[in-house]
Symmetry: C2
Subunit: 288 residues, 2 copies
C-alpha cells in the first residue's frame, strides 16, 4: 500500500470510495478513521494545518506566474445540511481569498438550460495557480435532475461518460480534481433541519423545499451511489467524508486538500530577470 | 461632528479625503490617527474585530435571502506595493469566503478593450448580500491609462463623470461603495521593491515593469490627486489609508469595513414559512 510518508495511509486512501457500486448505508457517517478524535483535538489539528495549507497555496500561485499550469479543483457534494457551506467557511477560510475561486451552482438559469450542462461548469474551472471550489457541481445534473425527472433517463445516463471525459481533460490540463462526498445519516439531516427551525438566526437557512427533498432521500442515495460509482476513476476519484461530526468533516477535508497540494510540490520560481540589474535600476530610482 | 457612537469620530471621518484637490505629499503615510499604535495591539484589535465582521457579513447575506438588496463594494487602489493583495489576504481573509466576491482587474484583454471601460467592471459588481472587493478597479482607466497616454485626454477626462454616474447608480441600487486609497511614501515603495529582490520567496512578486512604473511616480501622484478629487462625493467617498505600516493599514480597513456594515444594520429575516407546519412536516419525515 502506498503511504504518505507518515505513519498512516494517505488521506486519499483512507477516505477513498470503496471499489464497485457503494451501498451508501454501509459507509460510515460518524467514523473518525484517522486524525483527531475529539472536537478539541480537531480544532488544534486544523489550526496546525493552516500555515502549511497557506504556504502551499502561495507556492502554487507563485509558480503559476512563471507558467506552471497546476491548479486544484475541490468538488463538494452531499445531501442538504451535509456541510458544503461549512467547508467553504472553515476550510477555505484558512487560505488567502486571492488564491481561491469559489463557484456555487444553484438551479440553472434559463440561459444555462439552453446550453449543454457543462457549459456553466467550464466557465468556473480555476485558472493556473488557483484553488477552485465547486459548492455543488456538474454532479447535480445526474442527481436532482435524475431524481426529479428533469430530463429523460438516456440523457442523464449519457452524462456519466461526458463527466468522465470532462474530468479527464481537466486532469490532462494540470487540474488536480478532488471530489468529496459529505456523507451524513438521515438522522443527522433531520436534526440539522430541525435546528434551523429552532433558532431565529437560522430560519433563513431553511426552505420548505428542503423537506420535499428529504422525502426523496432513498432516491437521492441511489442516484449518489450510481454517480460515485460511474464517475470515480484513478485520476479523479471520489472521497467519502464522514460528515455527521462537523469538526471531523472540516479537518478531514483540510487534511486531504493539504495532502493533495503537497503532492504537487509547488515551488517558488526562479527570477525571470537579472537581480543585480534590477537592484541597480531601483537604486537609480531612489529619488522620484 | 457626527460620531460613531464611540468616543472617537467615525473611521469614515478619520480617514476621509480632505475637501478639494489633495496634495498627496502632504497627506500622512505613517500616521496612526486612531486605533492601535503598535503592531502587537493591531493584531489584537484585528482579532477582536473578526467575529463582529463575520457576524455582520452573515446577517447581510441572511437578509438578502429575504429580498434585501444591500451589499458592499470595497474598492482598493494604491501604488505598486501599497498592499492591495495584503488587504485581501488579511482583512477579507477574516470572513466567510462564501460571502465575498473578489475581482482583480489586470490589464484589459482585447475583448474588454473593445467595450466601454465600465463593461468589465459592471459584470463584477457584487450581488445582494455579498461583500465585493475590487483589487484595482475602474480607476485604473483614469490612472495608468492617463499616465501611459493609452487614450486621448478628452477620453479619460470624460471618465470622471462616467464614474460618478456609475457609482451613483450603484449606491441607488443598495451598494455601499467604500473606496480606499492605500497611501504609501516613495521610500516605502523602494524598500518593498528591494525586499522582493532580496528574498527568493518573493522574486515572483517583482516584475521589471515595476521599476518602469516607479519612474513615473510624480505623474501617478498627480493622476491620483485628480481621480480622488473628481470622484469623491458623499455617497461614494474616498478614504486615504496611511499604509506605510502594514499592520495599521489592515486594521484601518477592517475597522472601516466593520463600521460601514454596522451602519447598514443587517438583520436576520423572519421565516418566510410557518414554523409549526414545517416542524410537523419534518416529524412526518423522521424515517425516510
Amino acid at each position: 500500500m502506498a503511504t504518505s510518508g507518515h505513519d498512516h495511509p494517505s488521506y486519499s486512501e483512507t477516505f477513498a470510495l470503496p471499489a464497485g457500486r457503494p451501498a451508501l448505508s454501509d459507509l460510515p457517517t460518524r467514523a473518525t478513521p484517522v486524525g483527531p478524535q475529539s472536537k478539541k483535538d480537531a480544532a488544534a489539528a486544523l489550526a496546525e494545518l493552516a500555515p502549511t495549507l497557506e504556504g502551499l497555496q502561495e507556492r502554487l500561485f507563485a509558480q503559476s506566474t512563471a507558467g506552471a499550469q497546476n491548479r486544484l479543483l475541490l468538488v463538494l457534494q452531499g445531501m442538504d445540511t451535509s456541510g458544503k457551506d461549512g467547508v467553504v467557511k472553515h476550510v477555505l477560510g484558512l487560505v488567502d481569498p486571492g488564491g481561491v475561486s469559489l463557484a456555487s451552482f444553484k438551479s440553472p438559469t434559463k440561459e444555462e438550460l439552453s446550453h449543454d450542462f457543462l457549459w456553466r461548469i467550464e466557465k468556473q474551472v480555476p485558472p493556473a495557480g488557483v484553488i477552485g471550489v465547486f459548492n455543488r457541481s456538474h454532479y447535480e445534473d445526474v442527481l436532482i435532475v435524475r431524481v426529479r425527472n428533469l430530463v429523460p433517463e438516456p440523457v442523464w445516463r449519457a452524462r456519466y461518460g461526458a463527466i468522465n471525459d470532462f474530468e479527464r481533460r481537466l486532469t490532462g490540463e494540470g487540474v488536480t480534481v478532488v471530489k468529496c462526498f459529505l456523507h451524513i445519516s438521515a438522522d443527522t439531516q433531520l436534526e440539522r433541519l430541525r435546528a434551523r427551525l429552532d433558532d431565529p438566526t437560522k430560519y433563513w437557512k431553511y426552505n420548505p423545499a428542503d423537506a420535499a427533498e428529504r422525502a426523496l432521500w432513498p432516491r437521492y442515495q441511489d442516484a449518489y451511489a450510481d454517480a460515485l460509482a460511474e464517475c470515480s476513476n484513478p485520476d479523479a476519484p471520489w472521497h467519502v467524508i464522514p460528515s455527521d461530526r462537523k469538526w471531523y468533516r472540516n479537518w478531514a477535508i483540510a487534511a486531504l486538500l493539504t495532502e493533495k497540494l503537497a503532492e504537487l510540490d509547488p515551488q517558488y520560481p526562479p527570477p525571470a530577470y537579472d537581480i543585480g540589474t534590477e537592484k541597480d535600476r531601483l537604486t537609480a530610482l531612489a529619488d522620484v
